[in-house]
Point group: C2
Chain length 266, copies 2
């Protein structure tokens, strides 16, 4: 498999200290990184069917299966969806591009065909459930893809222009393009690194949420990687600017869009 380091090495890259244990079964799962440079080599329908089967094997709340996926493969259409996703080149170049949908539409239609009124689907509960369903399916699909040596990249920018995506994918009421996913064979030049993360004591709490969460160790550890990218500051300052409400890249329209699609009314 490409990129794969022993689990204990991957751990050290995540946390900056040696792993307390090495569990070889977890090697691929700890080696995730986002791949943005793909070979111009196809991934077969057969493999994709197996990956979709992995996605469908994930848990789904009450077996409602409130998610769908739309693959965009026609070259002109791929170009267009890449534009809708902030022009990211991996969207253009990956062997497959999948738009993951939160989808209450299929169930709503099925209920109506039985004379039932699916009136509760406009609660934020079902929006939440559908987003969780889509994410669980996607991540199991990603784990499957990576176990075959494929690379992936999630595309949050699918939410930048929700109206444009809705029109382009012909999304009916009750569906929402939640995120995209690129899948393909990593190029030989791909050098994506394992990204450092917060230490476990800053994300895993015992019994209850603590009064204070100390991220200073992480801020220090991340400084060099921001400096390499020419960004001043640390994780706190860099991430804090990202959420100041001035950098919404179109996603400030999401609430209005979701309400028009029938989500989040109550």
């Amino acid at each position: 498999m490409l990129f794969s380091e022993p689990m204990s090495d991957a751990w050290e890259r995540r946390y900056g200290f040696p792993a307390p244990a090495d569990l070889p079964e977890l090697r691929a799962l700890l080696n995730h990184r986002s791949v943005r440079n793909f070979k111009a080599e196809p991934v077969s329908e057969r493999v994709m069917e197996a990956l979709v089967a992995a996605g469908q094997s994930a848990s789904t709340s009450s077996n409602l299966q409130l998610w769908s996926v739309v693959s965009v493969q026609e070259p002109e259409r791929r170009e267009k969806i890449a534009e809708l996703c902030a022009g990211q080149k991996q969207v253009r170049e990956a062997a497959w591009f999948l738009a993951f949908l939160a989808d209450t539409h299929r169930l709503a239609e099925a209920a109506r065909a039985r004379g039932l009124d699916p009136a509760g689907l406009d609660y934020i509960e079902f929006y939440t459930m559908a987003v969780i369903d889509a994410a669980l399916a996607a991540e199991r699909m990603v784990c499957a893809a990576e176990s075959l040596g494929l690379g992936v990249c999630y595309i949050g920018a699918l939410r930048n222009d929700p109206y444009g995506v809705q029109e382009f994918l012909r999304l009916p009421k009750g569906t929402f393009g939640t995120f995209g996913l690129c899948i393909g064979w990593p190029s030989d030049e791909e050098r994506a690194a394992i990204k450092p993360r917060l230490r476990q004591e800053a994300i895993w709490f015992r019994e209850s949420y603590p009064d204070q969460v100390d991220v200073s160790e992480y801020d220090e550890r991340m400084k060099p990687s921001y400096a390499r990218r020419g960004v001043e500051g640390d994780w706190s300052s860099h991430s804090g600017r990202r959420v100041d409400g001035e950098h919404m890249t179109g996603r400030d329209r999401l609430r209005a869009f979701l309400e028009e699609q029938g989500f989040n009314h109550r």
Copy 2:
């Protein structure tokens, strides 16, 4: 590993027809089922640290890491959280119970410590992002657990009493108990079956969303399993009733709760 069938057998149980291919690497990933009967045998801290590391290895949007996990292990507290989760016995009996949080609080505090105002975090965009982050992390953790032979069960009922959970876990503004996860060794009596799912043509669409989604094949295939549980009807009628707005099990309070916690204001 417990429960594991060859990938091609798992495929046939999901879809009701033979697999077009057998990819042995995907065996564990297609074998997922929810385990509700656990042995009274511990899962070590070492293993849990490795599982959390797997969770943290999942993608997180812009590296914001908008999720956390609270483990509830003290026996009296476990009893209490099981009550909050509709009294489900697997919550009481699993070796570990984890409450997954959508968490913008840690980042908000980190931003404020740098003199920044994280004013955008009340957009539904960041609620969505945090729920996705939590779900991606959880599912990679689940894949890791299952690859070690552990069993898991997601607990959506963590959302039944959001105020009770908030008080019990001492959740500050900007956090939300999104779902629970039980992890443990499956009991020798556990006979959870692989659950049939919609055929791929009802969930994976090409280029755009279709005018019609046919679920009649699935309705037929699911009838016997509802009948065995003494439930009349098929997937459409059973699931349609689940979303009629009359069976919200407390989750109709979610929107008010989320707004009080600082989510979904715009």
